[in-house]
């Protein structure tokens, strides 16, 4: 069994309520932070822990906190990004649903460290019941003196507000989230200025993922240095992985980032192998927007080394032969899955979710979807593959926010690694409508140059 920091108590009956959470040692860390620690000390512990943002980009959280501007007389805000909409990712929902008080405790400590008196949880609209759970937990926490005015006699005021989004993927982007929170259309802002300088209502703001803020609790509890000992290299601590797809045991798992990808998929403790005794074909290891990898490159890096479930190892080889940790949405595809169809599904999602603000993303995502649709329906031409490649290349890096990149990467990776499957679709138009390309050589050991 790996180390469990976040989900340790998730299976305790009634942990969702304040009484049980408190009895299990909850809010003791907040008490320690507010009574014994200075603001600087808390930030220092988070920095020492090496905690990286769990939302997808993996930016060091302590560094993000230290960027926040502190002008005199201007309120600062902490916003919790619970707009978890990346296809394949559902770890935050699990955390909030079962351990709402853990998040609130993390929010309290973080708000204290950042000086945020009004902290917001921006939760996606589809998580309606989770929002209810959070609101209930906030009422309980307020009743017991953990939120509100003069918390623990420390003089610090903090209120947490739950804001329900309307279900737009783009509102998970931090500046779009801020716009939406302000009551405007959820269009990403042009950066700079960054939220740390001018965020919510033009005030300094930090936006962090649910898991990041929850991880602040074990960090303060055990100390940043101890936390940094878990994991490997710059991938410190534990990470929640939401595994789904063709596996025996889909679900949310907490890993300590030293486990290999192969163990994660095949061990009984985690995914329990591929469902139905089939073979692994491909995997999207970090949520829909990260590059897809074929089985051989997923389990071993291009150099022939074992690939591990951590930030560095998953991105080993760059985009040519690697992928990304992303948000931890681990999507496994077995040998019966069609990569063209899978890519089309993702492209359709991004077309539907593009905010339409900047032209490459607005027009390019729709174009890619239509070409993929054409190939999928057996009407593709060989020039379409190169056209797709050209379009994704022209979207990537030329847009306001990362949604353009997120739309381009899956298409690029699918063509990069599965070009022969696309070609098979185009060359066998009728056959491709009734049968599948299958596993082919995607699990064959890769040739490692000496």
């Amino acid at each position: 069994m790996g180390v469990k920091l976040l989900l340790e108590k998730a299976n305790v009956p009634g942990i969702r309520t304040y009484d049980v959470y408190r009895r299990e040692g909850g809010y003791a860390t907040a008490e320690k932070a507010l009574k014994e620690m200075s603001i600087e000390a808390i930030v220092e512990e988070v920095k020492k822990s090496g905690l990286r943002g769990r939302g997808g980009a993996g930016f060091p959280a302590g560094m993000k906190w230290s960027f926040i501007a502190k002008p005199e007389g201007v309120p600062r805000h902490l916003v919790c990004n619970a707009d978890e909409s990346e296809p394949g990712t559902f770890k935050d929902r699990y955390l909030m649903e079962f351990l709402p008080h853990l998040l609130i405790e993390g929010l309290l400590i973080s708000s204290y460290a950042l000086g945020s008196n009004d902290t917001y949880i921006y939760i996606r609209g589809e998580y309606a019941w989770v929002a209810d759970i959070l609101e209930e937990a906030i009422v309980e926490a307020t009743k017991n003196g953990w939120l509100g005015k003069n918390i623990l006699g420390n003089g610090f005021d903090c209120m947490v507000h739950v804001h329900r989004g309307a279900g737009a993927y783009i509102c998970g982007e931090e500046t779009a989230l801020i716009e939406s929170l302000e009551g405007k259309r959820g269009n990403p802002r042009i950066k700079p200025p960054f939220p740390a300088i001018q965020g919510l209502w033009m005030r300094p703001t930090v936006v962090n993922n649910v898991e990041t803020l929850a991880a602040v609790v074990p960090i303060i509890k055990m100390g940043g240095e101890e936390y940094a000992k878990i994991g490997v290299g710059r991938s410190t601590g534990t990470k929640l992985i939401s595994a789904c797809g063709n596996i025996n045991k889909p679900g949310v798992y907490e890993i300590d980032m030293t486990i290999s990808v192969e163990d994660f998929i095949y061990s009984d403790e985690y995914c329990g192998g591929i469902a139905g005794g089939k073979k692994l074909k491909a995997c999207i290891p970090g949520g829909s927007s990260v590059p897809i990898l074929p089985a051989n490159l997923l389990l071993k890096t291009a150099k022939g080394e074992t690939r591990y479930m951590n930030y560095e190892s998953l991105s080993d080889g760059g985009f040519a032969t690697g992928s990304m940790m992303g948000s931890g949405g681990f999507i496994v595809l077995d040998e019966d899955q069609c990569i063209v169809k899978n890519t089309l599904t993702l492209a359709r999602f991004y077309r539907h979710e593009s905010c339409g603000q900047c032209s490459p993303c607005r027009e390019g995502t729709g174009w890619m979807e239509k070409i993929l649709q054409k190939i999928e329906l057996g009407k593709g031409e060989s020039s379409d593959i190169d056209l797709l490649w050209d379009i994704q290349r022209k979207i990537e890096g030329n847009t306001i926010c990362p949604l353009g990149d997120a739309a381009a990467w899956p298409v690029a990776a699918a063509i990069r690694h599965f070009r022969d499957e696309f070609e098979w679709h185009i060359n066998n138009r009728e056959l491709s409508q009734t049968s599948n390309f299958g596993l082919q050589h995607y699990a064959d050991p890769i040739h490692v140059p000496a």
Partner: protein, 374 residues
């Protein structure tokens, strides 16, 4: 202004000094010529505009004197401020040329290319952009998105199919009028400019959305299909208007005023008034004063020789000189195909006809007879 910090910035190997806080685009415009990146959504008179169309992307090859690292991605020059010692590559960068061609292609994907029947043709920024940076053909083979035309009130028609979603009209309504009644509905490639629901835009200054629209999405209903802009002669004029500056450009043919617009500078933006404020004009000036008697005419408006509008055949008695070069000659031997086709094929476009010398408004007969003037 002397104590203002000046930053040295180099665009395409030309160095100038600009005050701190200037954007790369504004600095490049001060240099002028081909160095200035094109801008479809940025409008210097509108706060918050820009950053959306991505046509003004440039490469920053040196961040500043202090931090010489290049910026990893192309940046939107309209929203990036200069740093001291910054080096920017615009037309000297392969990456920029490539990205710009891509953006033009993206912008034209769902554009109907109905220039022959579009009122904006001849003064359309998208036309200029695709002429300069685009390709002759398209690789798009699917159905384009279309919308119904909508009347936004008495004077403005919205033809959403042509829109490139630059948001300029939204900013205009936000910043010029008391209550914005239109905005963007929906998202992605089905996003549209609309009022909710079918409201009419009713504000004394709302007509300015026509002037800021870079394409033919918002058109003046008092001018629709009345004339091609290159057959009209633009004249600077003013009147004593109680609501606005009253400084306008009249677009005449003979003695008839076909339309009234605000005065636009070489970047297609509203010129400043004498007091240095943006010269927005009111609806009364724009839509209702269509009589030469209403105006005090200052003289002909200078139009860039590169513009097709400069092809209007007027010369002599109003002080302008007829250009002797052909359109091709001033554009390095390239002819804008679509425009020149209309221009050459149209029977009303006889070089021998001098509009300024005809009596009163010109009509089809003036051209058909081919005998009025030599």
């Amino acid at each position: 202004m002397s104590e203002q910090t000046l930053f040295k910035v180099t665009v395409d190997n030309i160095t100038i000094e600009v005050p701190a806080g200037t954007t790369i685009l504004q600095a490049a415009r001060q240099i002028g010529g081909a160095v200035a990146p094109p801008a479809m959504c940025y409008y210097s008179k509108l706060e918050g505009s820009g950053g959306k169309c991505r046509t003004c992307l440039v490469e920053v090859s040196k961040g500043s004197e202090k931090d010489p690292r290049p910026m990893p991605k192309l940046v939107a020059s309209c929203r990036t401020t200069v740093m001291d010692g910054m080096e920017v590559k615009n037309i000297t960068s392969e990456k920029v040329i490539d990205a710009r061609a891509a953006v033009v292609e993206f912008l034209l994907l769902n554009h109907p290319l109905d220039c022959p029947i579009c009122d904006q043709a001849g003064e359309c920024h998208l036309q200029d952009l695709s002429f300069e940076h685009g390709k002759a053909g398209t690789r798009y083979e699917f159905q384009r998105r279309t919308f119904k035309k909508h009347d936004l009130g008495k004077h403005i028609q919205l033809h959403m199919t042509r829109c490139i979603l630059c948001y300029r009209c939204v900013f205009t309504a936000d910043q010029l009028t008391n209550k914005r009644e239109h905005g963007i509905l929906d998202r992605g490639d089905h996003a549209e400019i609309a009022t909710h629901i079918e409201k009419s835009l009713d504000n004394e200054f709302i007509g300015n959305v026509i002037d800021v629209c870079p394409v033919g999405a918002l058109t003046d209903k008092t001018f629709r299909f009345k004339n091609r802009v290159w057959f009209l002669k633009p004249m600077d004029a003013h009147r004593n208007c109680p609501t606005c500056s009253g400084r306008v450009t009249l677009w005449n043919r003979g003695d008839e005023v076909f339309r009234v617009t605000a005065r636009k500078d070489e970047w297609g933006e509203i010129e400043d008034t004498l007091e240095g404020k943006p010269g927005w004009i009111c609806n009364t000036c724009r839509f209702e004063k269509k009589n030469t008697n209403d105006w005090i005419i200052e003289g002909p408006r200078a139009i860039s020789r590169q513009s097709v509008i400069a092809q209007g055949h007027y010369a002599g008695n109003i002080g302008t000189t007829l250009p002797t070069e052909t359109f091709k000659a001033v554009n390095d031997g390239r002819a804008p195909h679509l425009l020149m086709d209309i221009h050459n094929e149209s029977e009303v476009n006889l070089p021998s006809v001098r509009l300024s010398e005809t009596d009163g408004p010109s009509h089809g007969n003036t051209f058909n007879n081919n005998s009025t003037n030599a």
